[in-house]
């Protein structure tokens, strides 16, 4: 096995520009399998951009990225959906489907993966309960509060039991108590072996967890502390 196989994610000199402006500038970084890390930094530093490249929602200008030992640039049409099923994403803007109920939004991930209905009902029901939003299962997302929507987004990210969890400001809309509930859920998945990256501004959240912290400034890694 190659040295990289212990890495879940590895970036080699990755640069991403938006119309001449560098959102990521020559980033070299790796996250090993089963690691829990925060990505922080000021607004516009490139946190969301970094995560976006990892779930292959955007091209990058320069460099190489390996995710679960796949060169994402070489990913074929059919490989892309398969890799995305191994990555659970909490989007900063939630990206819930407005015409589908909360239950269906979460269930979508399992339907996509071809799971049967009984399994889906059980799994989704369990997740919604663990986040205290089982009463909203049949509601449409836009009728929920920001915090509730965030929980739905988290439930969707987790319900496929992904190998990698990318959470972009997963506590941004939550009060302190709810934030710590979410944090505990993420730590729980980490304890079960998932690689978890959390992009956040929340200094309290970072301080509470005692984990690796990667700080981005102007698209470059400014500091990387608490790692192995």
């Amino acid at each position: 096995m190659s040295e990289n196989s212990k890495d879940a994610i590895r970036l080699f000199g990755v640069t991403k520009t938006y119309g001449g402006q560098k959102a990521l500038n020559n980033v070299d970084i790796a996250f090993y399998r089963g690691e829990f890390a925060f990505v922080t930094g000021p607004s516009g530093a490139g946190k969301s951009t970094l995560l976006r490249l990892l779930y292959l929602a955007a091209d990058f200008t320069q460099g190489e990225i390996l995710v679960l030992n796949r060169n994402v640039k070489r990913m074929g049409r059919s490989g892309l959906p398969m890799l995305r099923r191994k990555i659970g994403v909490v989007f900063q803007d939630f990206k819930l489907i407005s015409s589908m109920s909360v239950f269906d939004n979460v269930a979508l991930v399992l339907e996509v993966a071809g799971k049967d209905r009984k399994f889906i009902a059980k799994k989704v029901g369990h997740l919604l309960r663990s986040m205290g939003i089982e009463g909203k299962a049949n509601a449409l997302p836009q009728s929920l509060s920001g915090g509730e929507q965030q929980k739905v987004a988290l439930a969707r990210a987790l319900c496929g039991d992904p190998e990698i969890i990318l959470a972009d400001e997963p506590t941004g809309s939550l009060d302190e108590d709810a934030a710590s509930v979410v944090m505990n859920i993420l730590l729980d998945y980490h304890a079960r072996g998932a690689t978890v990256l959390v992009a956040t501004h929340d200094k309290n959240l970072i301080a509470s967890a005692q984990k690796r912290v990667v700080t981005l400034v102007n698209g470059a890694v400014a500091s990387d502390t608490g790692g192995p």
């Binding site: 059919s78 959906p81 994403v89 489907i97 407005s98 015409s99 979508l108 339907e111 496929g160």
Partner: protein, 299 residues
């Protein structure tokens, strides 16, 4: 891979949650189909009317007043049959002629009772072979008929029918060109409408991709939806057309001027083929959209 039933269920769910765009699409496509169908139906009927006239080009030869015995009648019929361009001949005895007259007079048939004797002559009706050149042919046949000894007078196709039917070929040409334009318009409007409908799913499609859906998973229910959209628009158009046909049909009297013509609707197989085509047109709209957006994403 998902079963077809599950895909259809997802398709219907999508429609239920996006009622307005689908309803608008249904109405738009239905109206386009209705227009195209109305044109087709009109064309079919005009053509069959003209064909009825054309196939029914007849010349009537009235015989001199005399008591024709059977042998004599057979001779006359034989002579008429020998004339080039004659398809068949029929003898109409004067008794039959007066009876027909009475029937077509209907309530006023009583008028005939005042007649002391039957004024109508015996006649033979000659149907001319149909096809190109009918109009020249009937003239020739009529001329030859008047040459027969026992024939007193010959009547044949009216001039206006002649002139009208002269337009048949031109009309067919125009109809084919117009029909092709119409089909192209119907197809592109349908495709455009389907694209608009799919546009209402745009965000949804993107999100599904992000959570690992394959293109097949995303597009199969959309394809089913648009096929159903086409099918139901077709059913709507056909039903409306039948309504019009039924309404108009009840008001068009069949008379001698229409010949063997009766107002027609599409046959059952034609209706079925039309509905299948409507569904395919809907599906084609989806495919076009798929191909376009796939090409867009390659760039």
């Amino acid at each position: 891979m998902m079963k077809m039933g599950a895909q259809t269920a997802r398709a219907l769910k999508g429609v239920r949650h996006n009622k307005l765009p689908h309803a608008l699409a249904l109405v738009t496509i239905g109206l386009v189909f209705l227009l195209a169908g109305a044109f087709l139906l009109l064309f079919v009927n005009v053509q069959s009317l003209l064909t009825a006239w054309k196939d029914n080009v007849r010349a009537i030869a009235y015989l001199e007043k005399a008591d024709w015995d059977e042998a004599a009648i057979a001779d006359i019929l034989n002579a008429a049959r020998q004339i080039e361009g004659v398809a068949d001949v029929k003898f109409i005895p004067r008794e039959q002629a007066i009876k027909d007259l009475g029937e077509s007079l209907g309530a006023q048939a009583g008028l005939l009772k005042d007649l002391e004797e039957n004024p109508l002559p015996d006649a033979i009706v000659v149907r001319v072979v149909a096809g190109p050149g009918t109009w020249e042919r009937v003239e020739q046949v009529a001329k030859n008929l008047s040459g027969l000894d026992s024939v007193e007078d010959v009547e044949y196709g009216r001039a206006w029918v002649e002139r009208f039917a002269g337009f048949l070929d031109i009309m067919t040409f125009i109809a084919v060109v117009f029909g092709a334009l119409m089909a192209a318009a119907a197809l592109s409007i349908t495709a455009g409408t389907v694209r608009l409908t799919l546009y209402s799913h745009k965000d949804q499609i993107e999100i599904m991709r992000l959570v690992g859906a394959t293109e097949r998973f995303i597009w199969t229910p959309l394809f089913i939806t648009t096929c159903l959209l086409g099918l139901f628009a077709g059913i709507f158009a056909l039903t409306a057309l039948f309504g019009v046909y039924w309404f108009v049909g009840a008001r068009v009297e069949s008379g001698p001027w229409v010949g063997d013509f009766a107002l027609r609707f599409f046959s059952w197989p034609a209706c079925a083929a039309g509905l299948v085509a409507a569904g395919l047109v809907g599906g084609l709209g989806c495919l076009l959209t798929y191909v376009q957006q796939a090409a867009g994403r390659e760039e």
